[in-house]
Symmetry: D2
Subunit: 397 residues, 4 copies
């Protein structure tokens, strides 16, 4: 049976791809060694610098974000090197598992999955590391499994306060282009990102933003690497080309995405996500449910993870909403599996799409028999009414 | 400034075109005289019979719906012929103006624009017409300017009760494929429709469903015609071809649309529209506003026209919602200009899109300063929760 | 069985639609009464003036070209009015049949279908018409059934030389945007065109370019009309809108087409078509076959009609090339049915596509057993080599 | 300046992407963890087995083909392991460079770049390797830099004849789905491929077909790996899912491509490529030029590399054809740089596109002043005429 109308893809990524980007991707593939390609490649490489807010280096891989995690590690570490990682949730755990699997020595600061990484705990651990065995500090900017944000700028300050030379490596796969991120200003050394979140593309491209310091480090570390090797990229990239066949059609889409983000304005994009996060939390409170992120100020503008009451199944709820209301919500992962559902409010999104989403959640709560108070959608609507949407209003306020 | 997210095109047509149809339309044009075209043409002509629910004739014009109005008249009438038309609203008026302009003699039964055509008034007039000067009765099935539905089956019965030989000609431009219509069963002689409403296509195709009786009549009437001539169509159509170049790419889309309608099931489509109309009226009541259609049972599942309080401008309200919430609403036409706005809930539409729409209306009422009660969106949501959506539920209930 | 590779649609229209235009058409439909539409409408109306080369009036109909023929007649003539038409081929005949069918009195100057309209014969006839009963002279600019071009400028001079007030009405459905046409400079009163030829769109839009004189004439003529009425268009068009729902998505495509034509440059477009026509004739000569257009200087850059030897079937040949070589060629119409095939070399076309086309024809001649000399493709290739392609070359030569 | 008409992308990959595949790729991204995705994933994984002709394993990576080279090596080898590689051309060289870079010990059998890998030389070397230090034999099936094909089945026999346990790893990035390949029947252990050649997709997906033996070997080798790890794939793949975010939209395209290949029939696809290779060589001979592949029987159906006369620049010739004739040809790589140009005749291609291509080459030779005989295009055309195209003919002959 056909479900009428648009599907609402409200998982925390991939986000719904706007028509402009789908059309860009659907253009005919060109010769990636030919003269016309240079413009495509340069626009992508230069454009991504404006998104990361860096004047240093950006590398683009034809891969999922997982590949860019691996790239960050293998370019900056030698086999056995120790890295300090903060367990903000499932994706932070996965990254440390990968580090261990490929031969590094991750040390994990455990977290409760209800907030971002904590700068003071990082600083304390670094101060103990008097021999500077820790080569990098790895944190997740926006933890997609929990909806919590880590204070990257404060973590940089914590590292500096500890007088420690470790690189700062940040996974902003789901944060970039949705919430504020400033590579150069915040002193990040490597930032990992992917195409299918704030960049509004299908999955298939990943990114490393890289500081001069990290690029220099890459010259001396001994981890074997080829596909992910930054230094093989530098030469061809300088003319808009790549050392091996790039994902041409996704690059078409990326250039369209960068243009769209700048048309709206990055600050406007960030404000929109923050406001939608706040409206969503207003709905959750009105339903009488609990937001997973419990540390005030760490709540994400990208997604909101919601705890269902004990003894109820979040996955059953999600299956019900998908079947009855044509909306996909994100599932709980590993230790919060079946206990939370995640509402993605990222990407090319607006007030009316948020109201559709929260209405779908409220209808699904009712249909699935999850104990809750009616009125969450209206609470979000009231929050939206009281906050600003129109750019000209913003300028005046 | 780019407005993020999807635009909500909630005018009562054109309705938002689903991606499947846009992709179909975007296929390469083929030779409309070549062997492959026959399949395209036949699928369209036969498929439209299943939508009109007729075993008689369907003709497809490369034109807007206005053209199909003209086609209906010029094929069935001789210059000066009298037609009885019921003024349900702006579009009924326009159709009678056209009839007069091209040389016929429309007699208009005046209406208050707050309900459908009234069978008893039609019957009464026909009984007076003892010399059968009236050659056709023309009514609008779904009056797009008011959101009122005319009872076609009862009008047929009224004509028969009067023992009058007039043809029954029905404009179902905005009704077809959204609300129940049965050409053969209801005894309609000519039905006019267009592509951009329930058929979910862009504008550019129009239709005449034609009874044997009307086709026979066309042989004897003397109105000059060429582009619109049904009898020129009959021969080529029998093999899937057309007498002049058809709108090939829109026909691709039409075939996709017909397939989508049958995938969902026409009864399911009609039930969906009816339920969305009822939910919308629940919202309007909760806002403390008035629905233009005042005759119970005539309310449309296609659109709802809403009166704004005296001294307020509906057009200003619409401009506000467009600017701030990225949603297009329909304007009031001629005698209700600036007094009503129209909410389209037709086409490829679902519960979440309706909630987005009504949330946009509620936010717009607030932003534009239209006196109203908050809570309409929630009232619609509650109505949706209490009524059935899932096809399997339907079958069980 | 799937035929691999691209289909070559080498009929004389519809021409193959470029991807840019298909993508434009595939964009979401917008509110044709909303503020954003005005830009679309104005770009189309103003843009078409640059294509017709007129500062007077252009009207756009959602219809096939046939509709625009009817529009030209019904806006400028009263019932029974006499028009002088020149029978250059099948389409000229069809137009005169339409004129007769809707109540005018066409007088046809017979032709042999092997050249364009003859100014001297038109002048001679007009000189006899001392009472100025002839209200319009109707000629086909590029006769799509024969591949012959009529000398429009000379026909204007002939009318003037005869001192006759008849309007000059020109069908340039298949000529516009492929071969030189100058509405104002040549003194044309009405020009009819369509979307699916030089404009590279799918079928579904048609055009009337209209002189002040013709528009003034429209005020006094008594032919009933509504859909085609120019005067209903003038008001809304002045702001970029239309009196009834326009074919929004085809207008998107039209604006893209106009932009593409100007990117290449109209003179460049005309030179390209002329050169391809000449190369095609070189191939035909090398095959030992005969071009239908026998009057030197009247050969078309749009298409070339080729006579097959007596006792051979052009239609069988075309079916063979379609089945074996994935190329559609145009058929012979009415009195040259099965005697000629037509090679379209119009629209978004280049040297390599022409060589593909002529190679397909040569292979088809062989496969279908049509007596011919091998080597036509090579003759065309040699012709192409010796003539100029590159714009910078053109400027230097 | 806009170049009119279609661009001919006649490099040996990426090949021109058919509209059906571009449309498939342009569909909305879905939840790669949701229930609907399983069908997409399974269709891709199962479908690729039919293309590789294997009942063993296929893994799909979001990466370029280079990544699949790395995947093949890191899953089957331990650091320092020796591999025997045959230098058929540039890509074989690149693969051995990669092997060395990431810590293996490639031993290269040198070749003259004018034919495929030689089974007897491989057998001779393996016989010397009495301690079985060589862990794998790596050969390129279709060497994209030279247009030569290696006899994979004979190489398998050579390995077996030597009684050597080395794995047989084959790069068929540019061969798969264009020329015959039979993973199971030929006893291949790992086959590497990519999306942008015979599969007619944009670049961005790569593949490993893997034998049971190779998958077993992967359990014991010690090379660190994560992104490329086959064993992480096995579990999720069994249900149609992937261990990390797949390239959803390219998978849509892949499924369309697999369907298209089976619609035509793989044998038909291979015959088509072989015939086009032969026609191309007929053209090259007629021009009086030399095909790079000098070993009879090794000539590729995918591409033809052509030597330009000494003292002439192949790259200048290619720039000329691109500028004047809107066709991209492949360049010579490393030791044949500027000495050869490469004509790609792979992917979704047909007789008329080949004639367009060869006509473009002939015009370019003339324009660039490369000494040659005219008549190559005609020679190819004659070859095409004399050989079979139509599937029904094939069946009858």
């Amino acid at each position: 049976m056909r479900q009428p109308g648009r599907h609402f893809l409200q998982i925390p990524g991939p986000s719904s791809v706007p028509d402009r980007i789908l059309k860009a991707i659907g253009q005919q593939t060109i010769d990636h060694r030919g003269p016309d390609f240079a413009d495509v490649g340069k626009a992508a490489l230069d454009g991504m610098k404006t998104i990361f807010k860096t004047n240093q280096h950006v590398f683009i891989f034809p891969s999922s974000g997982t590949g860019a995690w691996e790239a960050a590690l293998v370019n900056t570490l030698s086999p056995g090197d120790k890295v300090l990682m903060f367990e903000t949730g499932h994706f932070a755990s996965m990254w440390s598992s990968m580090a261990r699997k490929i031969g590094f020595t991750p040390e994990v600061i455990e977290g409760d999955w209800r907030g971002g990484a904590e700068p003071d705990r990082i600083e304390a651990r670094l101060r103990q590391d008097t021999h500077h065995e820790i080569k990098a500090v790895c944190v997740v900017h926006n933890e997609t499994s929990t909806g919590s944000v880590s204070p990257i700028e404060e973590i940089r300050k914590a590292i500096d306060a500890a007088g420690h030379p470790a690189l700062l490596m940040v996974d902003s796969i789901s944060g970039l282009a949705s919430i504020d991120f400033r590579f150069d200003e915040w002193g990040v050394d490597v930032c990992i990102s992917g195409s299918q979140k704030g960049l509004m593309l299908p999955p298939g491209l990943s990114f490393n933003a890289v500081s001069e310091k990290a690029l220099e480090r890459a010259k001396s570390v001994t981890m074997p690497r080829s596909y992910w090797d930054w230094h093989d990229m530098v030469g061809p990239n300088s003319n808009g080309y790549f050392p091996y066949t790039p994902s041409t059609n996704l690059l078409y889409g990326l250039n369209e995405a960068i243009e769209m983000l700048h048309e709206e304005g990055l600050d406007q994009v960030f404000a929109r996500h923050a406001r939608h996060g706040a409206s969503t939390r207003a709905a959750v409170r009105a339903w009488g449910l609990e937001v997973l992120c419990a540390r005030q100020g760490d709540e994400s503008g990208v997604l909101t993870a919601v705890l269902v009451p004990t003894d109820y199944s979040a996955d059953n709820f999600r299956a019900t909403t998908l079947k009855h209301y044509n909306i996909s919500l994100g599932n709980g992962l590993s230790k919060v599996a079946d206990k939370v559902f995640r509402i993605g409010h990222l990407g090319d999104f607006n007030d009316l799409m948020l109201m559709a989403t929260l209405s779908g959640v409220e209808m699904g709560l009712e249909k699935a028999g999850i104990p809750h108070q009616s009125g969450g959608a209206q609470a979000a609507l009231d929050h939206l009414k009281q906050s600003t949407t129109c750019p000209s209003d913003t300028q005046n306020s």
